[in-house]
Amino acid sequence: MIILILSWILIFTGIFLCFTAVLGLLRLPDLYTRIHAAGISDTYGVGLVVFGLILQTGISLISFKLIFIVLLLWYTSPISSHSLLKAAYQSKLLPALKDEEKST
């Protein structure tokens, strides 16, 4: 019973982190900051939800498949984020800097 409640807490925390990441994706000012916000949902959004599902099913073939999904995602999402960033930088996309004249 405790394991069931803990797994639901983990699943809903993971979904809340995904929502936070998407909120950052909508509101942040520049591409480079949005890539950072998207990385949150790739690692901890999926990780917490899948860990909650593993706690619910116990040790079986299903939990091995879930661990496999998470490992694949954790290995490949930094590669795609880095490639996107490098392609954006090489096509001369400048980051949005704060104006120094406005702050004084």
Partner: protein
């Protein structure tokens, strides 16, 4: 309870589509599609638990790989397109 989680992820995916629509550069749209694919993997796994069918996890594994390969292919295509526009030669 799985139904509530699935509906929450569907609402989140709708917000990601808004970013894919508005993004001023093409890289914003590629990023939105990548994040949309990651949430689709979550949705497939939760839907498998909702309908009590463990076969949906195989689909999630396959879609992880397809999402990754698709983003890298689109980036390579856009890189070649940018070089073609700059130099004026066929790549």
């Amino acid at each position: 309870m799985f139904l509530i989680a699935c509906i929450a992820i569907l609402v989140i995916m709708l917000l990601i589509v808004v970013r894919a629509f508005y993004g001023p550069t093409v890289y914003d749209r590629i990023l939105a599609v990548n994040v949309f694919g990651t949430h689709a993997i979550l949705l497939i796994a939760l839907y498998g638990y909702l309908t009590n069918r463990p076969e949906f996890l195989d689909l999630a594994i396959v879609y992880t790989l397809i999402n990754f390969t698709g983003v890298l292919s689109v980036l390579k295509f856009i890189d070649k397109l940018n070089k073609f526009n700059e130099e004026g030669e066929s790549v």
